[in-house]
């Protein structure tokens, strides 16, 4: 009996080997244009963060900076500095969520775009109505789910981590970009 039943039990696990499909909604260039429609120059910087930088980001935002490097674009309209575009990943329930945040030179959120989202529930994180709650916020705002940012039922972890992520990027701006 043993071999037969163990084979039967193992068969459904074969399905696990079927790869999921990544739902990429926006390429980086598309997200940049949606947030900074006036921008005509996007200059990429790969910012390397020291331990001291990461400590400072955590001190400002209360959120841990996971990555040692961050892809950041300086956005200009001719000679005018419009702000910064930062690409980041946060933990979703099963996979990372990739998103981009536009930050003005004064540290205000210009816009948030979700570029890759692969979770079952919570497509509302991509909807403008939810993302607009971040617009004009600064690192001094609360960024508290169900308070100044509405929760998304069924995708609470994704909503929380995106909310924390935007605040962390504002802290990163304050720590390493505001002087540039």
């Amino acid at each position: 009996m043993q071999n037969n039943w163990l084979i039967v039990m193992a068969l459904p696990m074969v399905v696990m080997a079927v790869p999921g499909f990544a739902m990429e909604y926006l390429a980086i260039e598309q997200a940049q244009q949606l947030i900074f429609s006036d921008g005509d120059v996007f200059v990429e910087h790969l910012v390397k963060l020291s331990d001291a930088d990461k400590d400072q980001i955590k001190a400002i935002s209360g959120k841990k900076q996971r990555w040692d490097e961050q892809r950041i674009w300086r956005v200009q309209k001719q000679e005018q500095h419009l702000g910064w575009f930062i690409v980041d990943n946060v933990v979703g329930k099963h996979e990372f969520i990739t998103y981009g945040v536009g930050i003005s030179p004064t540290g205000h959120v210009v816009g948030v775009e979700v570029m890759t989202y692969r979770e079952t529930h919570g497509d509302e994180v991509r909807e403008q109505a939810w993302r607009e709650h971040f617009t004009n916020k600064t690192v001094n705002d609360a960024f508290k789910l169900n308070d100044d940012i509405p929760n998304i039922t069924g995708a609470t972890l994704s909503a929380r981590n995106l909310t924390d992520g935007v605040k962390r990027l504002l802290a990163l701006h304050q720590a390493v970009l505001s002087d540039e």
Partner: protein, 297 residues
């Protein structure tokens, strides 16, 4: 065997073609505190293979099919159909296992449960749910013989996220009360005890486990479970510690969990023929293998 293969083969395209999931099991036995969304259905299937009582031959295969429904975002109701197959020989345990038994998978019980979420692990930083289930079984999971059992179980389920949810800790604590009555068996050996009077038991359980998402969609976990049972005649009838790993896949199409749970220590009532006196092997086995998978719709 060919029928089993056919059933499994039919399940695979069903699993691939449907879209997913909320209240998934990251571990084998320890439950998380999350509930289904209001109006969502989820179909879960658990297969458990239990073997080895340290004497003779003992194998049991249990199937538990569960349909969950999100009554509200905080309350999930579930109904279960349970089935059992058993193959035991060369094993006599006075009062518990009255000789050989062998049959293939057949219905063994039904169950209903409610799970209410008080605190959300993502929203409140700490997840807490209450869980109650009522089960009626007509086959004894140990001997495989006819035995009517009614069980009421209450549990508290806790959950906490670490590293933004990449590590998930879960803890369960519960109590169950059981009322059982065995059917009489003819032609038992002289002096073999097989009481048919109703029996009442109280069981306690506590479990904790951690699951870590080591790469996208894949989680590795481990859990430890303590179970004990008390009854009037002998006091503490049994206790067992189980500990083992789980591998979990959660994705857009479905989730599945593979668990190995060996009994690492146990005691209480024992029988003289068992080959390991550091385990409880009358009502438990040396190990359990579990496969769970779920789809929602």
């Amino acid at each position: 065997m060919s029928q089993k293969l056919r059933i499994s083969t039919l399940l695979i395209p069903l699993l691939i073609s449907t879209s997913v999931i909320a209240d998934e099991s990251l571990l084998g036995r320890v439950k998380g505190s999350e509930t289904l969304l209001q109006g969502a259905f989820e179909l879960d299937q658990t297969f458990t293979y239990r073997d080895d009582k340290g004497s003779g031959n003992y194998e049991s295969f249990n199937s538990k099919t569960e349909l969950e429904y999100g009554v509200t975002n905080k309350l999930t109701a579930s109904g279960y159909i349970k089935m059992q197959a058993i193959d035991t020989s060369g094993l006599w345990v006075d009062g518990y296992i009255p000789g050989p038994e062998k049959y293939s998978l057949k219905a063994s019980g039904v169950e209903g449960s409610l799970k209410y979420n008080f605190l959300s692990p993502a929203l409140d930083d700490f997840g807490l749910s209450g869980y109650v289930s009522l089960a009626y079984d007509w086959l004894d999971p140990h001997s495989g013989k006819d035995k009517d059992t009614t069980t009421l179980e209450l549990q508290l389920l806790t959950q906490k996220y670490f590293m933004d949810g990449q590590i998930i800790w879960m803890g369960n604590a519960g109590i169950e009360t059981t009322y059982a009555k065995r059917a009489a068996i003819a032609n038992l050996p002289d002096g073999f005890e097989w009481p048919t009077d109703p029996e009442m038991e109280i069981g306690l359980m506590a479990g904790t486990g951690v699951s870590y998402r080591f790469t996208e969609n894949w989680f590795i976990g481990a859990e430890v479970i303590y179970e004990t049972e008390f009854e009037t005649e002998v006091g503490q009838e049994r206790y067992s510690w189980y500990a083992g790993p789980s591998l979990h896949y959660g994705g857009q199409n479905f989730w599945a969990t593979l668990t190995w749970l060996p009994q690492i220590y146990g005691g209480g009532e024992q029988f003289s023929a068992q080959d390991d006196m550091d385990l409880h092997l009358i009502e438990k086995t040396k190990q359990e293998y579990m496969v769970k998978f779920g789809i929602d719709f």
